[in-house]
Subunit: 639 residues, 2 copies
């Protein structure tokens, strides 16, 4: 099996008109804001208490534990995001702030290596007795990821050593011929694989494999565990085995089920292990990938259609207005895609990564970086969202900060570490997955850099320059040809290359001897077009959505006289585009020919509502909800 | 205010090709089956124990109370249905069976008049302490209705006297300057008004008025009541004031809210009181009527769109596939309509009564009378109904008998008492609301009978004959012109009458001197046609339903190659009809020109699914789910 590795975060310095701004926003606004939140310094926001919990556990303060059982993970995700931010731009103040937090975390660690403030402060007698609900392994996973990122950013290993001691503590306890256990919420598996990549110490991979292989085996671990204790946190049903992806050994699982974030974190960990030649695990990952992306994913790359259980439901069950579609789940899908690209370079993984990133994930954050969606519906109406049965979880505007603060720091760490998702490399090929400008260093290209310039996602031109240390270097570049680009050209120094013969699994393979003046230019077809759903998606029957490049568009009330229910897209709609530099940080607005229906008098009539021509205005989905309370729809009926 | 009264059940002897069969079915199958259920004699059905509860309370048996807190009402509704059945056809065996049950009920009554087996057996110390959940007033209401019906059917007053003692007990306790209280589940109000109509004793009306006027006043009664006790039955939230229509004084309520059955039972009771000249109550009833029928009702006459709370939600929120649409709520809507017709003869009330009756209510019962739907969705798919989140309450086939058995006996009592819904009379006019064959006696027509012959609902011809005792009699007949009949004619002895000038509020007023050979013939336009929903109903955008006469049609998988999602109705569909005498007790099948879409490969595509011509088959909605497990849809997208 060919070894394919992703570029390191620090090896791709993003610099373009779109993502540089997002990284700047996260560095300058989101991370400091989240730091203030963790320290409870933001007025009007829900209390976090997450740092205080560590201070209490460390004996540096007095008080009670406050927050979710997984409150520690907020600190972990913030440290991880801040670590990436430091990789992007050195920041001594931030680094010293993190060191301060890490000091407290180290002091909170128990003599046996255990660290989890909920159980240390609140229920010390209950440690490791409730893996289904307790989130100890989940928090460990996140803090381990933070420790690795901070070590890679700064070379400082204090937190890494804390977490190695915690992992040793876990290895002492759980495993074959030891105490049985699996995490209720997967996460530690992929974190352990990162630790294995860093240290090459087999024991970390073995623990990850143990958790993966033990899941879904008989007898149901969570049922057995429940029998032994007379307390619960949320009274979760241990027999509800799909929720935790525990209904069958993972190698036998064919459908993506249960809590969507848990699912994709698990699958990402499985793919990490599969990369070491585990063929049956690879096959399971591929099946689960198809299950998600061919039958259970929104056009925005969102997953998890039900609020109850924040979960996958059934094939083609993709309601637009009651979608859960959690931001974290779309981020987890990107993690999974990122791993799948390390198994097999196939554009379907890159396409989905791009779809989730530019639509669901970006929509999760307000353009000013100050408010976040957890739930990313494809249709909202302030008349009932947040108010009536079935719609209480759907909010038509981003709220400030939740008691359960999983999504905002997850967005922050994804955006600050975005470079690593752009490229992978094998021994002889560099793979370009995302069209993001910047400068890359690769391990295999003997010191030559690759520079990318682009105005993507609004401009379809992507310029690649390979800059050797000196003279010319032969480089084999594989560029993803996105599924939405119906007419793609590549020019080498202005001359069109015949790429069709070179395309394999959605990547155009181009091998050239490059010198620093050579220009390889990718021209993607950005023509706005309609998208249709499989007829099995009952919510989208008779409807179309609009997409331009990777961006799914939506219709908001503010641009369309408020009453979206009355609007239809013309069957042969003419779509024109207009760039607005100063609107919503710069976007392309689409004008779509359509109709406005007359509204009936009364509820039912034998008269078809009549249609007047109406020019619809569509905006990129990721910008919705940034201009006040109003309706929004991605799918509109065709007329 | 003109006094308009409904015909008595026994004064309209139904005899036609449609309803006679239903009445026979209820009499011969449903009532005996329900009797067996109440006695726990049906194998495989959920235990009822309802009679046994009375026997235990009477000291005639030993054991524990079993069932819902409102289990007594099952017995009451069965007695009421059986009483109507006796009015239709004398049945000495049934009468003696009822007498036996009534003996037990009488013996269960406490010395102070109290009767409710749940509290007598299980929690005697908790009587009257939990009106929000306890259902004592609800069960009283139903038993009082049963007592009145049985008295009217047989002249026997034992149960009536039992219930008068119970009402006196309630009057002693609750009311102005006495203990404060309102029922959690309205029902007693309309029952008290029936008792008032029977006895003309003002105290009964005053108690009904008290319950109506006290509802929604400050301080919230259920909150106050909750403060005084440390126990609950279901842990209901007393602050959840919309659920129980307790959020404002009823005269100020503008939207139909909360538990749909409670709502329409309450509104029916309000309309009963409004009939005595209470103008502000009448106005509230009219507002609430408009709220339901213009903004919150399915095309099948079903109401209550949410399973959570079995409740109304918001204007135009009418999901087809997750509808709750309880059979009992549609029956309650008929009760409400029946009362509104006594306030104002307006065809909108008769139209809705007919819509609910021929569609939602009939669909509630299997054609063999043995199984019942509580939930009446407008779209089912066995792939997810009953299985996944949001669809667990939706069943694609009728189940046998529920632990909560409200709907089956409610259907039984409606069908056996159907005659009373067909006619009202004022001093000078006879109003014909439903087109059902039979022979009527009226109070105001000095002994002349009215005979109706019709093949409705499949045939649109309705023949009225007025048969005077002797000679000729002048009668003013008002016939409802249904909203679905676009071209309605009336012939008098074969000669067309100009009715347009006589139509007022949807009724054609015809005054003639009739002799027994005169024939007044109504010819309704039964042309099948499409129905469209208001564009605000987001679930029905771009869709059409099919209606023929009063019958809403549906598409079932069994007739349409199973995959309904791929079907569309042609915009200019040709609809043809074919009568099938031997199918589903005799129906008109509709063939509708349409399309079958090709299914996409994969989940999303920029290709519109292509359409092949396909002849759709539509069946009356009320017959759905009688031919095995399959998909069903009322609304289909137009192509």
């Amino acid at each position: 099996m060919e070894k394919i590795t992703p570029i390191k975060v620090r090896d791709y310095r993003i610099s373009d008109g779109f993502w540089s701004n997002y990284q700047k926003l996260v560095t300058e606004v989101v991370i400091p804001y989240q730091q203030d939140i963790l320290y409870d310094r933001v007025e009007g926001a829900e209390k976090s208490h997450a740092i205080e919990n560590f201070r209490i556990a460390a004996g540096a303060a007095e008080g009670e534990f406050y927050g979710q059982v997984f409150q520690d993970s907020d600190v972990a995700k913030w440290i991880e995001a801040a670590a990436y931010s430091i990789m992007l731009h050195a920041d001594k103040k931030l680094e010293s702030d993190i060191d301060e937090v890490i000091d407290v975390i180290e002091r909170a660690q128990q003599p046996d290596g255990y660290i989890d403030t909920y159980f240390i402060i609140k229920e010390p007698e209950h440690r490791w007795q409730n893996l289904q609900e307790g989130h100890e392994l989940y928090c460990t996973g996140h803090m381990l990821e933070a420790a690795i990122a901070y070590y890679e950013a700064t070379g400082k290993d204090k937190l890494l050593n804390v977490m190695k001691r915690m992992i040793d503590h876990i290895i002492d306890r759980f495993g074959k011929d030891k105490i049985r256990g699996i995490p209720g919420h997967p996460e530690i598996e992929l974190a352990l694989m990162r630790l294995y990549s860093l240290t090459k110490d087999k024991k970390y991979m073995e623990l990850a494999e143990y958790f993966i292989d033990e899941r879904g085996t008989e007898p149901n671990f969570f049922v057995e565990e429940r029998k032994k204790r007379d307390w619960t946190i949320w009274n979760s049903d241990p027999f509800e085995a799909t929720y935790t992806q525990n209904y069958a050994p993972v190698r036998e699982q064919k459908d993506a089920v249960g809590h969507a974030v848990r699912a994709v974190y698990l699958y990402a960990g499985m793919a990490d292990i599969a990369a070491f030649g585990d063929e049956s695990l690879k096959k399971a990952c591929e099946e689960l990938w198809q299950s998600i992306t061919q039958r259970r994913m929104y056009v925005t790359g969102a997953i998890g259609s039900a609020a109850v259980g924040e979960a996958f439901t059934a094939d083609y069950d993709l309601p637009n207005d009651t979608a859960y579609a959690e931001t974290c789940a779309a981020i987890g899908l990107i993690f999974f895609a990122h791993r799948m690209l390390q198994l097999t370079p196939n554009s379907k993984y890159g396409d989905t990564m791009e779809r989730a990133l530019y639509n669901c994930v970006l929509a999760g954050m307000q353009l000013d970086g100050k408010r976040f969606f957890y739930v990313n519906p494809l249709e909202v109406n302030p008349e009932y969202d947040g108010k009536i049965t079935g719609y209480k979880h759907v909010l038509p505007e981003r709220p400030k900060w939740f008691g359960c603060a999983c999504c905002p720091p997850n967005v922050a760490r994804l955006i600050t570490s975005l470079g690593q998702y752009c490229w992978t490399e094998s021994e002889d090929t560099i793979y370009s997955h995302l069209f993001i400008g910047g400068t890359a260093d690769f391990e295999t290209t003997k010191g030559c850099k690759v520079k990318v310039e682009t105005g993507f996602p609004y401009d379809g031109k992507v310029a690649y320059r390979v800059i050797p240390k000196s003279g010319k270097t032969k480089v084999r570049l594989a560029i993803r040809i996105p599924d939405w680009s119906k007419n793609t050209c590549i020019f080498f120094n202005g001359e069109k290359i015949d790429i069709n013969s070179t395309i394999e699994d959605g990547y155009a393979y181009i091998e050239k001897c490059f010198d620093k003046n050579d220009l390889l230019e990718l021209c993607l077809d950005m023509t706005p077009h309609k998208v249709y759903a499989n007829t099995a998606v009952r919510e989208d029957i008779g409807c179309a959505a609009i997409q331009r490049g990777p961006l799914v568009y939506c219709f908001e009330g503010i641009d369309n006289d408020q009453d979206l229910n009355r609007l239809r897209i013309a069957r042969n709609a003419n779509i024109t585009e207009k760039f607005e530099k100063n609107l919503l940080n710069g976007i392309a607005i689409l004008k779509v020919s359509g109709y406005k229906m007359t509204s009936l008098n009364g509820l039912y009539s034998n008269q078809r509502p009549s249609a007047q021509s109406y020019e619809l205005t569509a905006m990129p989905y990721y910008t919705w909800g940034n201009r006040g309370l109003n309706q929004m729809k991605v799918w509109l009926a065709e007329e």
